[in-house]
Symmetry: C3
Subunit: 212 residues, 3 copies
């Protein structure tokens, strides 16, 4: 039974990992196209956006060679995403909803990945929460730095908070003895739900210090 | 006697480490507030500014997981600094002198830290001087990159030279057989002194090549 | 005979490594001078441009401490390059051809270096091609990020493609059983040749997706 769940689990994680990588790669590629980069620049930006967060995580915890060096499938998925973005960019931009969902899924998945790699390295809970958030958010930060703009996460859409909230739920459910499979699913769903609500209602954190 | 000195020494280092981290975190937080980041963005920038230099140093020498992953107190100090900056930013900006002193202390301390970690890794003297300078200066570089501005150290206030001068003094005193405690103190004091003199008299290095 | 070839080979690699490091350091220093950095800023930018790509490569594959920490000669060459650039910048800018050739040589050499370090780490061929390209191109990316501009490689001159083409040739020649010495030489020559042709005829990749 447990085996079956884990079997579902691993296939699910694998599928979502690919979806997340694909989504982040698309967002990077579309950003590069918008800046009129040449095709290679578009691929490079897609690549950096998709693997940047996980690479920084692997570097911080000392997981070498970093995962994507051992995983050709990431390069394949990212290249496909970049090519699709170049051929169908106009079309993709007309359905941002799909990309947004992919991005939210990637955000959820990469947060959980970061947490679990942190736990494997024997790091404390709050550090694991930070690691999960870095894994999910820093690909976008690097993308924005290379685009020569101030990273979006500093301004918008409770991006970081969604990851932190999901990461906290992960540890609460774990402490409650919930099965790892459901702990992962519920944490990811919370992150995705927060992102949907925030974007739908244009929520942002109060800048109370600006009133002073 | 030596024991007592080392006891003073360690407590002093610990205190100055916290002060330095606090100072760098404040400078990052205030920069984020000035750019009207949301509160999470302010915390992230404070964090990156305070731990960026040490993280790069740990990565370059292969010290994994990087120190702040093993040291929850850094996260606590940085969060407190960010919250204080958000609540009392206006007030803090009225007394830049205190922040400047903290920053100079942090600069001195992080330079010495970098040197000693380099020595522990068996690196050459000039490499250790570079490491100490990177530790002290690169948190600010990363902060400026994320703020989408050209790093201050490229233009102003003999920031890098102060660290190099202190690092060189560290090795001169060491070669003269001065006790480690006083070597650290004098090197840090030189860095702090240079920073104070430079800022007080608006000194900068001559750009001789611009005359040509 | 083979020994003799390898002897030539190693001396040649060493010479080209120094030339390449010198060239990349000059390009960084000249960029800093153009931005009116202070002398220390110029040296820092020269340093980052020359060692940035190799440092990122070492970090990704987990080669610590990164090579330049163990190699004082890099610091010496880079410092000399920066000083020459400051004293003779005007003169150097009048003969960009020399700098361009140095840069192309550096590009070729650093690509091969990255590939061979990847192979030593037991990475797959396509990953080694990526590593070689990163080694050659990312010093310039970091330089541009610090200069607060969008990295040139995203827009211009088939910079990345030249490295990829040379890297692919390296593996084709290897598969054909060509001697390592000639494999290295021909791969580097291809990269240099592509760069010369591209710059001479102002070639760039078609942005087919902009027509859509």
């Amino acid at each position: 039974m447990t085996e079956e769940i884990l079997w579902v689990n691993d296939n699910l994680l694998f599928l979502m990992d690919i979806l997340g990588t694909f989504a982040f790669a698309c967002s990077g590629a579309l950003a590069g196209i918008a800046k009129r980069f040449d095709p290679v620049g578009v691929v490079v930006l897609a690549f950096v956006t998709a693997i940047g967060g996980g690479t920084l995580r692997d570097i911080l915890i000392g997981n070498f060679p970093v995962l994507w060096l051992k995983n050709d499938i990431a390069i394949v998925v990212i290249s496909i995403a970049a090519i699709i973005a170049m051929l169908a960019g106009k079309w993709l931009q007309k359905i941002p909803y799909i990309l947004f969902i992919f991005d939210a899924i990637g955000l959820g998945l990469f947060t959980i990945y970061g947490i679990e790699l942190g736990l494997k390295s024997g790091l404390s809970i709050e550090i694991c929460i930070a690691l999960g958030t870095i894994t999910a958010c820093f690909g976008g930060v690097i993308r924005d730095v290379l685009l020569n703009t101030v990273p979006l996460i500093f301004y918008h859409e409770i991006y970081v908070m969604a990851c932190v909230a999901g990461a906290v739920l992960y540890f609460i459910l774990g402490a409650l003895g919930v099965h790892l499979f459901w702990t992962r699913i519920f944490s990811m769903l919370l992150i995705i739900l927060i992102r949907i609500v925030v974007v739908k209602y244009h929520l942002s954190l109060p800048k109370f210090y600006l009133k002073r």
